[in-house]
């Protein structure tokens, strides 16, 4: 039968996290707790040079003096940072020659996720640097990339093999003391990805990393650094899923993008970490700092589809330092049950003739709270800066919330700023209309949400768009009221 509100609520409650399983891989895990010795031990474990160890220690001492921010529109129990293990690596680290050498348990995990490496390689030509519990275990397409001089590897490898690049750029966009979580990440990051595109090179394929959180009680602190040298281009995809867990898992990643003159970076994310169960128990705490810097005539484009995590705190931003540079932010954030998201962007206009576009789509269902928080800042030197912002919210049912916090700071009178916002609700009349055309309620919701999100979905690379569409459907099944 077609829906009634109660029926749908029931359906929604029984909807379990699709990827909720746990892979039994032997891990080497540090005991819980965080102090200077732990930071040193992480660095030692990874055989890092002294400058890196010192960098971490400096970040750690900064972090100790900071307080966890409280300005967000989020309510959660603060994590006990002494109750987390800061290092966990698969014990049997396979060599990178072929997939056969990868732990079969791990391959099974990928198969369950439907992201088998073989398939990915064959079908989409995507080179992947797979991160499971902080350490990269397989890297593909390396040769093709090497030919072009592109470096795509784990950040640990980059510290070993390209220390000059890492040292020059690490922490230049997101300084160690930028914020509480960024400082923590700087001190204890275990691994992550590094990418360098040389001058004038157009990266021939989408670069992709799949992240997974796998150890109970293990915080994950990824560090990503992408450098696009002059006149280069790269499209980077980041997608994540995690197994279900009872205790909250902390995730505090830092992503830094550097687009030198005339370069372009497209950074796309599909995030599907465990959102907690229907009672709001468990789920990932996601505190991410993502920022890119644009030099002259360069462009950075962030696209994100956020469906997971119990708590999301994330503002992928652009510092438009160079003249004529462009920043873009396209986002879909979906919250259901007791999920909370406080997400948006910052567009900092410094250079002349800089342009930014913000398209944010929030979908809230269940008892969730979904906030957009965005800053558009035009500095005194940013002549003829332009911004267009559009924030749309879609509500399902009567128990969820959508909030918009736009901050606009203009210090140059030549600026042109536009802000549009809408809030709508999926109506019973829309559902009935679809039903009458033979489209059942689940499919109708998917259709309506996809229509609502279309402007953002269109910005994703093709194979990612399909995955993202599926995710939207999974996240919202039966959630209209």
């Amino acid at each position: 039968m077609a829906y009634t509100e109660d029926e749908l609520k029931k359906e929604l409650e029984t909807k379990e996290y699709e990827y909720g399983f746990y892979t039994d891989i032997d891990s080497e895990t540090f005991p819980v707790g965080l102090n200077e010795d732990v930071v040193k031990a992480i660095s030692k474990k990874k055989n890092e040079p002294k400058w890196m160890t010192d960098w971490r220690l400096d970040a750690f001492s900064t972090w100790k003096s900071m307080n966890e921010p409280e300005w967000s529109n989020l309510k959660y129990k603060k994590p006990n940072f002494q109750d987390i293990s800061y290092y966990s690596a698969p014990k049997k680290k396979p060599s990178l020659n072929s997939l056969d050498e990868v732990d079969p348990e791990l391959l099974k995990t990928f198969n369950k996720l439907g992201i088998s490496l073989e398939e990915q390689k064959k079908l989409s030509g995507v080179a992947m640097d797979v991160v499971v519990d902080s350490v990269s275990v397989a890297t593909t397409f390396k040769d093709t990339l090497e030919e072009k001089g592109i470096i795509f590897c784990s950040i640990s490898d980059a510290i070993q093999n390209h220390p000059e690049l890492v040292r020059k750029h690490l922490g230049t966009v997101v300084p160690k003391k930028d914020n509480y979580y960024a400082a923590l990440n700087s001190a204890v990051f275990s691994d992550g990805s590094f990418c360098y595109i040389p001058k004038g090179v157009r990266c021939p394929m989408e670069l992709s990393t799949y992240f997974r959180i796998n150890q109970a009680g293990t915080g994950q602190f990824e560090r990503t650094l992408v450098i696009a040298d002059e006149s280069s281009y790269v499209s980077y995809l980041e997608g994540c899923t995690a197994p279900s867990r009872d205790e909250n898992q902390l995730h505090a990643a830092v992503v830094e993008l550097i687009a030198l003159d005339d370069a372009e970076i497209k950074y796309s994310t599909v995030q599907n970490w465990f959102p907690g169960d229907k009672n709001g128990k468990g789920g990932v705490f996601n505190f991410v700092t993502k920022r890119g810097i644009c030099h002259n005539r360069s462009k950075i484009s962030w696209t994100q589809v956020e469906t997971g995590s119990a708590v999301t705190w994330k503002y992928p931003s652009c510092v438009l330092k160079g003249n004529n540079s462009i920043g873009e932010f396209y986002s879909i954030a979906v919250t259901n049950n007791f999920q909370q998201a406080d997400t948006g962007t910052k567009m900092i206009h410094v250079g002349k003739n800089t342009k930014s576009t913000i398209i944010s789509k929030g979908v809230s269902a269940g008892k969730s709270q979904n906030s957009y928080r965005g800053l558009v800042q035009i500095s005194p030197l940013a002549k003829n800066a332009r911004n267009f912002s559009q924030c749309d919210s879609l509500l399902m049912g009567n128990d969820c919330g959508a909030h918009t916090f736009p901050y606009i700071e203009v210090q140059n009178k030549t600026a042109q700023i536009e802000h549009e916002a809408t809030t709508s609700k999926i109506g019973e009349d829309q559902i009935f209309y679809c039903n009458q055309r033979g489209i059942d309620t689940e499919k109708a919701i998917a259709l309506i949400v996809n229509g609502f999100s279309k402007e953002v979905l269109n910005k994703l690379p093709m194979e990612f768009a399909v995955e993202a569409q599926k995710l939207l459907e999974i996240s919202l099944e039966g959630s209209v009221g």
Partner: protein
């Protein structure tokens, strides 16, 4: 095709239909007329299975099967189509994408494969030209920013695409100027044949000049108070409903 027996229905405990009887055979066009609030639109919604309307008594048979318990989408799969009086907007979903989804969902329910794109495209072109719809229109978001006339034309376009066995047209003439009315009516006529049936619900006789009904029923206060042929509609147009009220009381 459709047989309604002693149908009673209420919405939020307020009785609206109080014993409707109606029988529509294959190939027939029926019209239902009646004053505001008589229950015409309710009847359309009940036939399509809208769950806000509670059937308290009576039965609806469609193709000799009782459909009281079927969901709206199941009825649609069986071949019931409702042209809405107020079609809803679905932003970001194009007319083409919507009709494609609708057709394929119905096919899926019958265990059929999705319609191949080439066939779909051909059909869309054919039906669009029938209703003088240009291709531009098909890539617009469903009903968003459509004029009244465009909305109704879009309803009939969907009807033409879905080829239902029973089409219920709820106030399809409202909001149409005379040219649009002709196009829409013409579309309905071209789609109707000896294997399907049409139920036209209207306020005015105007539409019935173009879609000529075999039978006309007058509904007042939740009941069919009189049935006749197309001349009955003309009489209503001339002298209104008041004489029926007196007759009926």
């Amino acid at each position: 095709m459709l047989e309604i027996n002693n149908l009673h229905c209420q919405i939020e405990d307020k009785p609206i239909l109080k014993g409707i009887n109606l029988k529509i055979n294959k190939g027939e066009i029926h019209a239902i007329m009646g004053p505001n609030g008589s229950g015409k639109s309710t009847l359309a919604n009940v036939i399509s299975g809208h769950e806000d309307y509670e059937v308290t008594k009576g039965s609806i048979y469609f193709k000799d099967q009782e459909i009281n318990e079927l969901s709206p989408e199941e009825r649609a799969h069986e071949g019931v189509f409702l042209s809405f009086q107020y079609p809803v907007e679905i932003p970001g979903v194009t007319v083409t994408n919507f009709i494609k989804t609708a057709i394929n969902e119905s096919r899926k329910s019958k265990g059929q494969e999705e319609m191949p794109s080439s066939e779909m495209l051909k059909k869309i072109r054919e039906k669009a030209s029938l209703l003088e719809i240009d291709s531009n229109f098909l890539s617009r978001s469903l009903n968003q920013g459509f004029s009244g006339g465009e909305k109704k034309r879009n309803e009939i376009f969907q009807m033409a695409m879905m080829e239902p066995e029973l089409a219920v047209l709820d106030e399809t003439d409202s909001g149409l100027d005379i040219d649009a009315l002709k196009i829409v009516a013409n579309g309905v006529i071209k789609c109707s044949n000896e294997n399907n049936s049409v139920l036209v619900i209207t306020h005015y006789q105007r539409l019935l000049d173009y879609i000529v009904p075999d039978f006309v029923h007058i509904v007042m206060d939740g009941k069919v108070v009189m049935s006749g042929d197309k001349d009955l509609a003309k009489k209503i147009e001339e002298i209104g409903y008041d004489w029926l009220k007196k007759d009926n009381s």
